[in-house]
Each structure stands twice: as structure tokens, then as C-alpha cells.
Symmetry: C2
Subunit: 114 residues, 2 copies
């Protein structure tokens, strides 16, 4: 008899069968939006700036869309903020995920009597 088994799920956005946006990018973009800096966002998520920058760059390339508008130097060293496209993708992803999450929790009770 299987013990206490519980369901899990993950959602993402694709373009031509390739994953272009998932939870990691969502957290990263939201952190940039909050902090106004990719470096600060990376620190908040416990990753190196290099890694964060690489992920953003890769996503932009696959997506063919610019996600961050950044300026280097100046007061505080510079900073970055989300483009309109980034906000649009973020909005769609969040809406999609919220809906699926609700379904998951509903079905969960029907299939796995806790």
C-alpha cells in the first residue's frame, strides 16, 4: 500500500515547442521589478549575478523579445526595469498558473483523500 502520496505540478510557456518562460524567470523578473536592479534581484533569489544575467539573456534570445531595459553607471551604479513585453508575459504566466493551481487543489481532494 502506497504511503502518503501527494500531487505536484508545474506550468510554463512555450514557443515552437521550446520552454521560454517558467517559475524561475517569473521570480527573477518580479524581483527586478521590485528592486530596480538585476544584481539585487539575483542576490534576493540566492543566485549569482552572472547566472541571473545569463538566464535573462537566453530567454530574450529564444523569445526574440527584450525583457529588461537597463542603464549602466550613474547614481547607484545603474539598474534595470521591465519592458512592456516582459510585463505582458509575466501577466499571462501568472494568470495561467493561478488557474491551474486552483484546478490542482480541487482535483487533489477528489483523488487523494487526505
Amino acid at each position: 500500500m502506497p504511503g502518503k502520496i501527494s500531487p505536484g505540478f508545474k506550468v510554463w510557456l512555450e514557443k515552437e515547442g521550446e520552454v521560454v518562460f517558467a517559475e524561475g524567470r517569473k521570480l527573477l523578473l518580479e524581483a527586478v521589478d521590485e528592486l530596480g536592479s538585476l544584481n539585487a534581484a539575483a542576490k534576493k533569489l540566492g543566485m549569482s549575478y552572472r547566472a541571473a544575467w545569463g538566464k535573462i539573456k537566453a530567454t530574450e534570445k529564444r523569445l526574440g523579445v527584450k525583457l529588461l531595459e537597463s542603464n549602466v553607471g550613474g547614481r547607484g551604479g545603474g539598474g534595470a526595469r521591465l519592458t512592456r513585453d516582459a510585463r505582458e508575459i509575466l501577466r499571462r504566466y501568472n494568470r495561467y498558473k493561478t488557474r491551474i493551481k486552483a484546478s490542482v487543489e480541487r482535483e487533489c481532494k477528489a483523488i487523494f483523500k487526505k
Copy 2:
């Protein structure tokens, strides 16, 4: 403006926060059930017997449940068949996935006007 973006999803079963069953195991177990042999199932899925066996073994360990009842030697070299527990897990996973898939397709139309 983002191009043609489409949603994707994945579901799995957890035990104590650890993934114990997902799409790969499902396909493997179903193939074993159909063919009566782990070796044949592995070939069907384009993986080595070694890899298939390792995955089954790892899943059994994490799950604390036996998935395959096997006999070695004899006519045809032997074979394997699913245990009752394996069928139960498979049934739950399939039911769960089917439900979520339906939700995904429904929400998809609402969020991504195709």
C-alpha cells in the same frame, strides 16, 4: 509583442516533498504491462535496459514499494509484470493528469486566444 506563445504543464506525485512518479515512469510501467518484459519496454521507449532498470529501482526505493514482479530465466528468458501497488499508483497518476490536462486546455483558450 510576444509571438505565438502556448502553455505547457507537467504533473507528478510526491512523497515527503520528493518526486516519486512522473511521465517517464508512467510510460515505462505501461510498456511493461503491455509487453510483459522490462527489456522490451525499454527498447520500445528507446532507452537501454540498464537505464530502465535503474529508474524502476530508484523509484521503488524512494517509494518503499515494489513495482515489478519479475522472474529470470525460463521460456523467453523471463519477464516482469506490475504489482498491485504499481497499478494503483499508475491509476492515480493517470486520473490526476487527465483532470489537469482538461483544465489546462480550458484555461488556455481563455488566456491565449489562438
